[in-house]
């Protein structure tokens, strides 16, 4: 019979929960931030009458 070592089990699961929840939260927040900025940009473009740029499916924008 071996020792159960529950503390190691909880440490592993706890660490995974923190890491995955933090990344999940980062993605949701960053997406919301960019969505909000995109709405503001769209409004500014509409006001100034400029066309809207789109990220392309192929090819990179020249840098």
């Amino acid at each position: 019979m071996t020792a159960d070592n529950w503390s190691f089990v909880f440490a592993a699961y706890g660490l995974a929960a923190v890491v995955l929840a933090t990344y999940w939260r980062f993605l949701v927040r960053r997406e919301k931030e960019l969505d909000d900025a995109s709405v503001v940009r769209r409004q500014m473009r509409q006001e100034s009458g400029r066309p809207e740029p789109q990220a392309r499916a192929s090819g990179h924008p020249s840098s």
């Binding site: 529950w6 190691f8 089990v9 660490l15 960019l34 090819g59 924008p61």
Partner: protein, 214 residues
């Protein structure tokens, strides 16, 4: 759609947790510490999957110069690094009570560390080059070269004498009890859904960032 996927993923993770910590039986030789397997093995599966996607997307990018393929490779590499890090950390926590050490330079641990560092380098390379097209091209080449390390990691336990145990699921001979396999499969499914969810969100974030820069 993405919210639905997030909900299903969360439900799958809770189901996996219940299976792994509650329903699956206590293992005879290792005791309850073996329950780390339900976290450790699906994590490395997601890492393999993520890097395989990087390989395919990198080839597509080099052939077609499709920015969507580049974004997919970038997102998948990031998620792959996250899960490789988790694999190493949970493996180390599992190693202490079973092997008596947090870390040892055995073949599996060494090759997986090299895999982690290579894809970390992949992400750093992308961040270091200002010219996005050039950065994407270099990253695609590295994404293809680094993928050769995946079979090396997987078969290291068969090719060399290691402290790490060989694969348990697909080995010939006596198999694991059905309930343990079921708990593992639930966690495999939940982690795969989590990978799809993370990559779809990260890909969208990368597209929005590109639009903001344009």
């Amino acid at each position: 759609m993405r919210t639905l996927l997030g909900g299903v993923t969360l439900a799958g993770l809770v189901g996996g947790l219940v299976m792994g910590l509650g329903i699956a039986p206590r293992e005879m030789t290792q005791g309850n510490v073996q329950r780390i397997m339900y976290l450790h093995v699906p994590s490395v599966w997601v890492a393999y999957l993520a890097f395989a996607v990087v390989l395919v997307a990198s080839i597509v990018y080099l052939v077609r110069r499709a920015e969507a393929a580049d974004r997919l490779a970038h997102a998948s590499a990031e998620v792959g690094v996250l899960f490789t890090g988790l694999t190493i950390a949970t493996g180390s926590i599992w190693g202490k009570p079973t092997w008596g050490t947090w870390w040892t330079w055995d073949a599996r641990l060494t090759t997986v560390s090299i895999l982690f560092v290579m894809y970390l380098g992949y992400l750093l390379l992308r961040g270091m080059i200002d010219d996005r097209e050039r950065g994407a091209r270099f990253a695609a080449v590295l994404g293809i070269v680094a993928a050769f390390n995946i079979p090396l990691v997987h078969f290291s336990v068969l090719w060399w004498r290691t402290l790490h145990q060989p694969p348990s699921l697909m080995k010939p001979g006596p198999t694991m009890p059905g309930i343990i396999v079921a708990a593992l499969l639930v966690n495999f499914a939940a982690f795969t859904l989590l990978y799809v969810y993370f990559v779809s969100r990260r890909t969208r974030v990368l597209r929005l960032e590109a639009e903001a820069e344009a």
